[in-house]
Subunit: 213 residues, 2 copies
């Protein structure tokens, strides 16, 4: 979002309540939207928890303490079936109503868990589908463009870029399985990748973890 | 659904409550799923009404009594932004959890209102996106296939095909703007196309209309 603001875009931000264990991220998203001056912040309910199939929405365990070398080698149980397809579909619908052509999504395909819907080939295919499946795409003078400014950055580069743009990382939340629903566990893939990013970038992580390691 | 049953598929049917004026169609869908022996029928809530931009979900009027020659020439106000993109995204998510590769959607690009997300080029692009954006598509031995058996049929052919398969059309609902929320108006695009289909097929329409014409 800070990159989009820097590039002169007016922000309409969108979050999804999909039954995720870490729905505390919705509070974080709202605070960040406010801090960065979003014109509107919309939270949509999506029934992904009724579809199931993921450790992020169902009863089974979120993996902990995986070796960093293992992350991204396979698709873990935290994968949520078709999640970014669903999120982008709703985002395109809202963008069409707003008359906006530029969508931003913070997917990353480098320091990541191997999710198929974070990869550039998926994003390009979805973008094409969105332009064929909407009035705006078919009739418009322009086309929808899905921006993925973080997709080829390392986590360290993401942290450095955010720091340079004045992002307040104390507002952010990354953990998949927060202790008591709020405090970062420090052990899930998302915490491990975040901690690695801050360490490599040479900045202290302002988020406090339930477990230090 | 009757075509999928004929072709030997086991049915998991999916409907969407998206704030449509004609949510009575959800009752019809449930009854049809039961009549055709669906293993499960799932109704998901989707917040398309919070996104707006359509006469099907917002306060503005559903067009009535349009000349048949006008239908399909432009994209009318009953277009719901990115609706089939959203529906198919959720369907692909559920299919992945079920371990199913075959999705059926009853879109039609001949006797229709000109919606971009009913056209074959959109369906093919979405299918490709779904196969790139899911674990099943990336790792699977097979690929998702989106079947659109009605896409190139006239409404009359659709009615004749359904009749030949023993479909009970009295269970079905087509109207966009039912009177008192239940009874087909007989004047919206969807009613006009349906009536034309039954007339051309030479069968009486078992649904009773609020207005006869």
């Amino acid at each position: 979002m800070a990159i989009a603001v820097r590039d002169g875009f007016e922000i309409y931000s969108l979050s999804f309540h999909y039954g995720q264990r870490h729905s505390v991220e919705l509070d974080a998203a709202r605070n960040i939207a406010k801090a960065l001056g979003a014109r509107r912040h919309l939270v949509l309910r999506v029934d992904l928890d009724r579809i199931g199939g993921s450790a992020l929405t169902e009863g089974f365990e979120v993996p902990k303490d995986r070796p960093l070398g293992e992350l991204g080698q396979d698709i873990p149980v935290t994968y949520v079936p078709a999640r970014n397809t669903v999120f982008l579909a709703l985002a395109v619908g809202w963008a069409e109503v707003l008359g906006s052509w530029d969508l931003f999504i913070g997917v990353n395909a480098l320091d990541y868990s191997g999710y198929p819907d974070c990869r550039p080939e998926f994003i390009r295919a979805f973008e094409r589908s969105a332009n064929l499946g909407t009035r705006a795409g078919v009739q418009g003078q322009a086309s929808f463009r899905i921006h993925t400014p973080l997709i080829r950055m390392s986590k360290a580069e993401i942290i450095r870029t955010g720091m340079a743009l004045g992002v307040d990382f104390s507002l952010t939340h990354s953990c998949y399985d927060p202790v008591d629903g709020r405090r970062a566990c420090g052990r899930c893939d998302s915490c491990l990748l975040r901690k690695k990013g801050f360490a490599e970038a040479g900045f202290p992580d302002p988020v406090s973890y339930s477990v230090h390691g």
